[in-house]
Symmetry: C2
Subunit: 262 residues, 2 copies
Amino acid sequence: MMTPPSVFIIFTLHMKLTLIGAGKLGKQLYYEFVKHPSIELIEWIDRSSNSKQTAEGIKITKSLDSLQKAEIYLMAVNDDAIPSVSSQLPSNEFVIHTSGGTPMTAISQKRKGVFYPIQSFSSNRTIDFSQITFGLESTTENDFKILQKLAQSLYAKTIQLNSLQRQGLHLAAVLVNNFTNHLFSHAAKVCEQNELSFDILQPLIQETVDRLNLISPDEAQTGPAIRRDQKTITEHLRIIEDPELKKLYQLLTKSIQNYHGS
Amino acid sequence: MMTPPSVFIIFTLHMKLTLIGAGKLGKQLYYEFVKHPSIELIEWIDRSSNSKQTAEGIKITKSLDSLQKAEIYLMAVNDDAIPSVSSQLPSNEFVIHTSGGTPMTAISQKRKGVFYPIQSFSSNRTIDFSQITFGLESTTENDFKILQKLAQSLYAKTIQLNSLQRQGLHLAAVLVNNFTNHLFSHAAKVCEQNELSFDILQPLIQETVDRLNLISPDEAQTGPAIRRDQKTITEHLRIIEDPELKKLYQLLTKSIQNYHGS
């Protein structure tokens, strides 16, 4: 008796996608989507563009009125614009947003989802999407699989987050990214006032981050505040010229001391 | 006529060094000093040790009374202890401290200097000294050369800093290391409250640091504060449970807005 030959058929299904928005995130998503053969970008809604087509041959649309059919309508728009943009999109399609702080329910379609990149996007900085984790949320298991497939197409990792968890993570992201960066701004200014390059602090900044791989931030806390080294604290407050920085220094010092036992 | 053969004599001069202090920095300096053949560690003053000798065969001394002669007496002691420890050291020798916030004049010897590592030292974390920049200060050019030679022995970089510059840099280090780490503590707590691993934020934290290689922190500022996204700010303040974090969030948001134009 003969064994029939095994036949493997690999279906490489394209994901037909419409991208809405051309801000910092929209632009990076655009360049990412056109890179991956498994994603078929149908059109890109960019209100500010006067071209009809991108350099990569993708159709540019200014209006939301007569969109082509797609599997996913991805909104990379301001949080505030999510409800109104969603209401202008086809009502029976799968519509998703990318916001950390906006509940999924801001989308009016029955088939809704969230595709939140846990990363900060600046102009002139290309993000490696394979290093990103996307926080996913949807109402059905099937739509969740579509979101997972989209992330996999970008070689990105995923985590399931409900709207409350996503909001908490977004708050944490503000602390470690936006607020930390603001402290870097003040540090750079202090360096400048002392005719020093901010680059000197780079290894210290890297160490601040690297040691989190081994110890928790609570264990990693050092410095005059936790040591209750009042002499150094007083000296620092004396040399700070900027009243804003003085207030930040005082509150952060007090907060470290309260956090680590009174 | 015959050319005389060239004779190269390489003098590998040992630096005879006495290390005072066995705290976080003292311990790491000890393990670093014994690694380098060009440094001859004469004795290590560790008041808390009951041994007479380290595993590496270095003499441990508890008292400062009868120290052997060394080229450098390096104090890795608390800022407050610098004047009293210095006053107990040989008056005609070269005595240096390692403090960011203490003026060189806290040392009573005529030959004084500063060897300030621009880095944060935690327990259980070994620092790669070749990645450190030491801020150096001394009263004579000759002593400055000795400090440079000491740093070079550790393959470390150096920068000349006067006491005011060093104090400014120490303030900036508190901002980028201690205060940033405290924000990480709060972020880790928010993640925990949402049953999420703090590790999810690692790529975002790394990006926050990496982009400083390309753009300034002022240019890198993003987030609800600089966007004046009052809706997100109000939502974040609503979900923050910790009153300390609430105060920090409010002040940092206000500070970002004031810093980046009103």
